[in-house]
Amino acid sequence: MILRRPVFWLILIFAALMAFIPFHANDVSMREDLILVALAVILASNLNLMIGYTGYVNFGHIVFYGLGGYVGLYLATVRNWNLVLAALAAGLVVSLFALALGMGILRLRGAYFALATIGVLLAVQSFVANFDPWGRSTGMYVDFSAYQRLGGARHALWMTYFLVIGVMALSMILSLGIKISKFGLGLFAIREDEDAAVVLGVNTTVFKAIIYSVSAFLPAVAGALMFYKNGMIDPSIAFEFMLSLEGIVMLMLGGKGTVVGAALGGGLYEKLRSYLLTSPKLSNFQLVIAGALLLLVVLFAPGGLIGWLYRLVPRARKVIE
């Protein structure tokens, strides 16, 4: 039972605090900082389903986020759908797309799969850059009046913030739910030895396609919300390869394969980048410092922060999953 897991309650408390503190203090700066933290947690947690749980490195994970942004923005602005419905529809469409795609490319393994994911990213980006209804390479813009329907930009941005926090909590709960399920065990079996998993009766192709599709849903919803909040989307912003790589770095930092590790890595990485960027003394060296820190983590704590914690306090394994 998921409800008996202490981490489940920790996730809820964490999300509630993240939603409550900036709202209570009416601190928009803090909200803007935290929404990027939440986004990092969402991306890292869902990427963890592929990399950490299944052992398949997905370099093109950001494609779900970008496509979700496009579908969501199209429905919300051109078709005038309600934002929440548009975001959910975006998640669904992108998940189905991932499922169909996954049945094909997930027959590949190891480096070949990783290469194929980069191919998917580039192909989707080129398609979108030539797709008329989505504005080709100039992208789509949100009319300022669209925010009026949600009670003005101020109100609309708070609303998207709460929704993104909700998606963040769901991402972590989803990670936990899969981890403790039989389906999760199947994924772990694939990660450890795919051939052995087949022999044990795990339908690996279907399992992999399902997890690929599931890992697409929440990032797509988050994409719809974030690009709506940003007011515009174009292919170079939506499908940024760098963000895909950053997702992998976040996982390494926190500890792949764990629920808390993925979230912690995402949150810390974003906080660190954001701090270095705005610090008057360090801003010129921000990339150097971020790079050096990551190198240290990889060298001295290869299991990420959570792996390091497990080594230090072996009992922590039971509480912090």
């Binding site: 928009v28 700066s29 909200r31 929404i35 990027l36 080129s126 813009y141 909040k229 940003n230 007011g231």
Partner: protein, 400 residues
């Protein structure tokens, strides 16, 4: 008591000086890292020169007070992801009174959502895309001529020289260049030109040979397009090495950079639509003349100003003019003054649309065309060739 005298004096002095020294905080983000770095930093240099000159002259004088300018800025990494976070911070934590936009249209569009929300004036510079202004804003004011106008002058000029030219459009598949080329294609057809070829290439393209072969096969005589520096300079180099028989080449943005001259013979004859060139002789009603600006800029940064730098400086001037006209730093009053602005500075005319459906769009400023030509000593220089009233040399046509 004596021992306390000095601290008391210091505290009082501090209060007195902070109480009377009026500071005006301007906030913006700069792309210190990432793809937009070069252009964005040139724009920043324009802002800085303006600030230093205004402060050296005692600050902006409005309503009987003087305001010294101070800047707060952050690195946006050439990326929209962080722009809203940084602009919220500028407005709420750093208490910026007025804002300048980031460099590029997409970053500016994203920042505008936040600045509109807090009803802060943002002068947008380095952002030519016109769409943002049609979305119902109240506090945006565009300094650049909108993208749709970029290539119209070239076509007008071509019409006078060679109305039968066959035109090829080869351009970067990116937000800005597409926004420029699409209206230009329509305009070319309207003028009766034969648009013989049109193809967009992916950003970061380094091998243009396939496209160049198609241009040759289409028998085009004129090439229009490009995008940014890296692709534009590569395209020009490869067009030259393939010996494509073109009579005219016009590329966006890249040939405006002083670095362009380093391409050698490949650079000769290439035309760039420019927001401003040092040779353009506008009679400034307000602020320095073009020559004075270029001289001060070159003395400070050891390089001649680009139009991004001029746009940056001019944004400062236009804001300063509006604050002086308003006699106050109150947002509503300054916005009203900006709406009423119609001035000519060294950068040319600045006037903003005031209709609700396109508020802030630049309607006064006109583009000039500059062509790279060899001077008498064989050195490559940029000459203004259009409009005829502002020209510094005659157009070289055909180039080969």
């Amino acid at each position: 008591m004596k021992r306390l005298a000095l601290p008391i004096f210091l505290v009082v002095a501090l209060f007195v000086t902070t109480g009377f020294a009026q500071n005006l905080t301007l906030g913006f983000t700069v792309s210190n890292t990432g793809a937009l770095n070069v252009d964005s930093v040139e724009q920043l240099h324009g802002f800085e020169l303006w600030r230093d000159q205004v402060n050296a002259a005692g600050g902006i004088k409005a309503g009987g007070k003087s305001y010294k300018i101070q800047f707060v800025s952050y690195d946006d990494e050439s990326n929209t992801k962080r722009v809203q976070q940084l602009y919220s911070r500028l407005i709420l934590q750093d208490k910026a009174d007025f804002l300048f936009s980031p460099y590029s249209s997409s970053l500016t569009a994203t920042a505008a959502i936040v600045t509109e929300q807090y009803e802060k004036i943002m002068l947008t510079t380095g952002a030519a895309e016109g769409k943002t202004y049609t979305l119902g804003n109240h506090y945006l004011f565009q300094m650049f001529t909108p993208g749709a106008e970029y290539l119209k002058g070239v076509l007008d000029m071509l019409k006078t020289k060679d109305p039968k030219a066959a035109v090829a459009f080869v351009y970067e598949d990116a937000s800005f260049s597409v926004a420029v080329v699409n209206p230009a294609k329509e305009y070319a057809q309207k003028l009766g030109f034969n648009v013989a070829f049109s193809e967009a290439y992916a950003p970061n393209t380094t091998d243009f040979s396939a496209i160049i072969d198609k241009v040759i096969a289409s028998k085009s005589t004129v090439l229009l397009g490009g995008g940014h520096y890296a692709d534009g300079s590569t395209l020009a180099r490869q067009v030259y090495s393939h010996k494509v028989p073109l009579k005219m080449i016009t590329l966006l943005v890249a040939p405006d950079s002083p670095q362009w001259g380093e391409l050698g013979d490949a650079a000769v004859g290439v035309i760039v639509p420019s927001q401003w060139e040092p040779q353009t002789a506008f009679k400034a009603q307000y602020g320095p003349s073009g020559a004075e600006f270029a001289k001060a800029y070159t003395a400070k940064y050891n390089t001649p100003p680009s139009y991004e730098s001029a746009g940056g400086y001019a944004s400062g001037l236009v804001l300063q003019h509006a604050i002086e006209q308003a006699g106050s730093t109150d947002t509503a009053k300054v916005a009203a003054a900006l709406n009423a602005t119609d001035i000519t500075t060294f950068y040319g005319r600045s006037k903003f649309a005031t209709e609700a459906n396109q508020h802030g769009l630049q309607v006064g400023h006109a583009m000039v065309l500059a062509q790279w030509q060899k001077d008498k000593s064989g050195k490559l220089v940029k000459q203004v060739v259009w409009p005829l009233a502002a020209k510094s040399a005659n157009l070289v046509y055909p180039i080969h």
